[in-house]
Symmetry: C2
Subunit: 259 residues, 2 copies
């Protein structure tokens, strides 16, 4: 299994605090030693860092923690390999371009027979089930919508339908973004938390670290964090329902589709 971390915010926000907690689970407080990756959207651009070495020991992870890159949408993943060897090309998140936008995908779970699903214009570079599932997802989205639909809800419903098809093959918790929204699909385990004024203190479960968000934010900031397991032990995380796809924009949950 792997662990996921996502963020949606209404102002460019750094993810240092949550990322610090997650990175501990990559070989320190957790067994996810088989690499990690993170994607930060910045305007239409996207900055990604990947490392097949354990995150708790990674030089690049330390840069990301120190450098405090600010973003409105972030997707991160730490890996415990089950299918596909430990190497750079098998390290999530994966990214592809569709409609002139960066799409980013990170997955937790195993999907039986997913490599037999036919692909359109997108092909996996590595050998994971997850990247194959992502390529299939994008191929199907492009086949249905050669151009982006005017009503985003049509796209969201289609992604939900495809997520359900994938879930029939096994565990399919994923985070996805099309540079506009953060999509969070829960098949077995995913939870979220929105921080907004009045901000309080948060204490990491996996590291001896507390942050007072009141010192770090303005009263208008709204930031949602999505994670496989709660990252803090003194805040109220919402557990997502199996089968649900939740859409986040500017820090707010804007739509939810249930099974």
């Amino acid at each position: 299994m792997c662990e996921l971390l996502g963020m949606s915010a209404n102002v460019p926000t750094d993810i240092c605090f949550s990322f610090t907690g997650l990175m501990q689970r990559g070989g320190n407080t957790g067994p996810h030693r088989d690499g990690w990756g993170i994607a930060f959207y910045e305007g239409r651009g996207c900055r990604t860092f990947h490392d097949p070495t354990p995150s708790a020991e990674s030089e690049i992870a330390r840069l990301v923690q120190r450098y405090a890159i600010k973003s409105r949408i972030v997707i991160s993943h730490i890996r415990r390999a089950n299918r596909g060897r430990v190497c750079l090309e098998n390290t999530h998140p994966f990214s592809r371009e569709l409609w002139g936008r960066h799409w980013v995908f990170a997955h937790n779970g195993q999907l039986r027979g997913v490599k037999r699903l036919p692909l359109g214009g997108y092909r996996p570079i590595g050998s994971t089930d997850s990247e194959h599932a992502f390529c299939w997802l994008l191929s199907r989205i492009r086949a249905c919508f050669p151009e982006p639909p005017r009503q985003p809800a049509r796209l969201w419903r289609h992604v939900h339908k495809l997520s359900q098809e994938l879930s029939e093959r096994g565990v399919c918790n994923f985070l996805l973004s099309d540079a506009r929204h953060l999509y969070a699909h829960c098949s077995t385990q995913l939870c979220w938390l929105t921080r907004r004024a009045p901000f309080g203190q948060a204490r990491l479960t996996d590291a001896d670290m507390t942050v007072d968000f009141q010192q770090e934010t303005t009263p208008h900031d709204v930031v949602t964090v999505v994670a496989t397991r709660p990252l803090t032990d003194n805040e109220a995380w919402t557990v997502m329902r199996p089968g649900a796809l939740t859409l986040f924009s500017a820090g707010e949950a804007v739509a939810m589709f249930s099974r």
Copy 2:
């Protein structure tokens, strides 16, 4: 104008020395202050770093210099913007997937009317001529070869033909890789140098730095560096001919196509 830097090597090699020279031209000894980027191939995977800030002042550039990532193919670029504003999505090198391989592209020059060229499945994310040219190039390659041709020379000839079409629109020096070969197209300015045993000393033109490659290499290492302008002042660089596309593999020039 911008500056390009590429490397092809027969063993994973770090590019720290050449990169240090190039980075000085990004706001220090040169005027290329509008961002920089670098792509390192690692197996089938590819690691990229981009920063729209001047390379001479970039925290991420310092990490790349310190961290000594080893690779067989590297493509780097420092930018002086002419078309397209200074932002992450306009920062070279650009990358896309074709045939389940990472393709990476960096360009120096301006191309008139390139945005009127029709695109297939690849669309630009940013607003540069260069990214549009890259998407056109990949769309044309995929239209001609839905699957990779058995004889790579067929692909190379096709890329040369497409490069000539682009060159009719202006200045088109570029570095391209399909994860197998490094393609270097010279339209006005590009030069290269192969280092092999017996190795000697090299002295950077843009920084007070000398390296003795005999200390850093084994007798079997072969490393070619391609750059817009020579990076060292005590080695014999070969100037490429306008209109030529040169293919490098494992440090050696393996094919050349002339106008």
